[in-house]
């Protein structure tokens, strides 16, 4: 099997020779997708970042493989979205089979006019490689490989970290620490924080195989497939002719035994039929659905798997982690640049714990449906499956994973609507994308034209509004033109309508007519009041 794909060199930092610990604005712990995204986002917002990782390589197993539309929109803002979409396998259709009969199919993005697809599949190491390449273009990020955090000391106005390297230990001070160091977070352990939630007894075999196959580019899920009787199976396509196969093994499976090739290969052969394949990666998993009680601990902020964990049904792990990174990055930048107070950081807890609870809820319900916990639950699940071919209501209850969508924040940062709006745009949700043509006549999309600051999107209806200096103004009908009418439809736009977006592209206020005082009050509210 393949080992690490990309190696990076440890380099000694001048901080290691300093007499006193050198102080940095932000230290991010963990250079996985979440830590890399957080570091890039902060740096693009003008905050210098030290990024520490305990390894010196990426690419051991493809791990996370599904990236959702919202995550791709974030990654596009960070400068790697187009590269990833070009490299990944775009898909939007899911099919669920009962035995070998198709029970139902779903389309995740039934409408056109979005830059990013519903989902791409891509090995996590390609995502990490793209983000590490991007870090290399940004001087404000100091990425230090083979730097393992072994001590965390929370001081009054900073955090002191003990870091172990091949040259020994050194100390580092940070105004803020983002702990993106994964499910086995060292920072979490060092602070003595525990999880609240569930561990499932059910075990799953997860394998990546390389093979030439003409299977469709769809998420295919089976209950009781002919090739894996009495259990469930999931198959997903990745680039490079690599296929992800998940096979449910039951609660009593022996983890060591099931990883042996003489056990794995016959199982896969039954699933894949009579074709040659090469095993790339195999692992046996038990899933957790759990989170920390709080994500913000003074100046240490948890993001991604260090803060919350879900089962993979629904692709809610990696996607929610990258959405955590986006949420904390703009807030820390606003705080450090003097435009907001500590209450903005508390809103990270409010918004991302809501997202974590939503993800844990979906993921728990899916896992319970796939692996019922009692005979009565199994009877109920089987009744749903038995009725599904004949009754639509039962098909709607068949749950093989509800795929990740962005959380609509119930947040004090939003200014409640006073005017009525229809359309798909929602307060507390990311702005829906729409095709837009710029002043230069070039076709493009709304989200890629946003500056990543507070931005007022105003629909031309008179004079150009005199927005406060901290807000970027975009006038639809002047700066951008809504040629297909999809913007008007999705935002329920009328002349004069004004939409205030946060730096993370979430809609935080809207009005039928522009009023400077209301816009400024809404911006202050979105900064924590």
């Amino acid at each position: 099997m393949r080992k690490a794909l990309y190696h990076y060199a440890y380099r000694r930092s001048p901080d290691q020779d300093a007499r006193a610990p050198v102080r940095h604005p932000v230290v991010v712990v963990g250079a996985g997708p979440v830590g890399l995204a957080a570091a890039i986002d902060l740096a693009l917002r003008g905050v210098t970042v030290v990024l520490l990782d305990d390894a010196d390589r990426i690419g051991e197993g493809s791990r996370g493989i599904c990236y959702s539309k919202r995550t791709l929109e974030i990654l596009d803002r960070l400068g790697v979205g187009e590269r990833l979409v070009a490299q990944g396998v775009t898909w939007k259709l899911g099919k669920v089979y009962l035995g070998d009969t198709l029970a139902y199919a779903f389309d995740l993005l039934p409408e056109d006019g979005h830059k990013m697809p519903a989902f791409i599949n891509l090995q996590q190491y390609y995502l990490e490689k793209a983000l590490v390449d991007r870090v290399g273009e940004i001087p404000a990020i100091d990425l230090r490989w083979k730097n393992r955090v072994v001590g965390v000391d929370r001081r009054n106005d900073h955090v002191r970290l003990d870091v172990e390297t091949p040259d020994g230990r050194y100390r580092l001070d940070a105004d803020w620490v983002i702990a993106a160091d994964g499910a086995r977070s060292a920072v979490r352990d060092l602070l003595g924080l525990g999880f609240e939630g569930l561990t499932f007894e059910e075990k799953f075999l997860i394998a990546d195989v390389r093979m030439a196959a003409d299977f469709p580019t769809e998420r295919r899920f089976w209950f009781d497939p002919p090739f894996h009787s009495g259990q469930s199976a999931l198959m997903h396509r990745q680039p490079d002719n690599v296929w992800r196969i998940d096979l449910q093994l039951g609660p009593d499976a022996d983890v060591a035994e099931e990883q042996k090739p003489e056990r794995v290969l016959p199982r896969l052969r039954r699933a894949l039929g009579d074709r040659d394949f090469e095993l790339e990666w195999v692992s046996i998993y038990r899933f957790n659905c759990r989170r920390l009680a709080r994500f913000v601990h003074g100046r240490v902020i948890f993001a991604g798997d260090s803060a919350h964990q879900v089962s993979p049904f629904g692709a809610r792990g990696g996607n929610s982690g990258i959405q955590d990174a986006e949420n904390i990055a703009w807030k820390l930048a606003e705080l450090m640049q003097g435009r907001a107070g500590g209450r903005l950081i508390e809103s990270y807890d409010v918004e991302r714990m809501q997202a974590a609870d939503e993800n844990i809820g979906h993921s728990t319900r899916s896992t319970d449906f796939i692996a019922p916990r009692s005979p009565a639950e199994r009877a109920l699940r089987n009744a749903v499956l038995a009725l599904a071919p004949a009754a639509e209501f039962a098909r709607r209850m068949v749950n093989s994973g509800r795929l990740s969508t962005a959380t609509v924040y119930e947040t004090p940062l939003s200014t409640p609507d006073q005017d009525r709006f229809a359309g798909s745009a929602q307060l507390g949700a990311p702005a829906p994308d729409a095709p837009m043509r710029g002043r230069d006549g070039r076709a493009g999309y709304l989200l890629e034209r946003l500056a990543g600051a507070f931005e007022l999107i105003h629909v031309r209806g008179g004079a150009r509004p005199d927005v406060p200096a901290e807000i970027k103004l975009t006038v639809v009908g002047e700066d951008l033109s809504d040629q297909g009418g999809l913007f008007a439809q999705r935002f329920d736009a009328t002349p004069g309508a004004s939409y205030l977006l946060r730096p993370d592209q979430h809609l935080c206020a809207r009005w039928r007519a522009y009023e400077r005082g209301k816009v400024e009050a809404a911006r202050l509210r979105a900064l924590g009041g």
Partner: protein
């Protein structure tokens, strides 16, 4: 003409399913079967239409695939 509605009526079907699952948590097989029987009687009376009840019985009965509904 069929009077039984088989299209989905819950805005969030997952929540309805979980409510049923939760009702069985902590009950053994006999208690679960008894709960199901009481539930059927309560819902049948709520519907209050013998034609609909008979159609529902026919649909449920037609889906037998072995003793446990097929998937184990």
């Amino acid at each position: 003409m069929s009077k039984l509605i088989t299209t989905s009526r819950f805005p969030n079907p997952d929540e309805a399913y979980v409510a049923l699952v939760d009702a069985h948590r902590g009950r053994d097989a006999e208690q679960s079967a008894a709960l199901n029987a009481r539930l059927v009687l309560i819902l049948a009376n709520h519907i209050g239409d013998l034609d609909v009840l008979k159609e529902a019985i026919a649909l449920a009965g037609a889906r037998d695939r072995g003793s446990d509904g097929g998937v184990s």
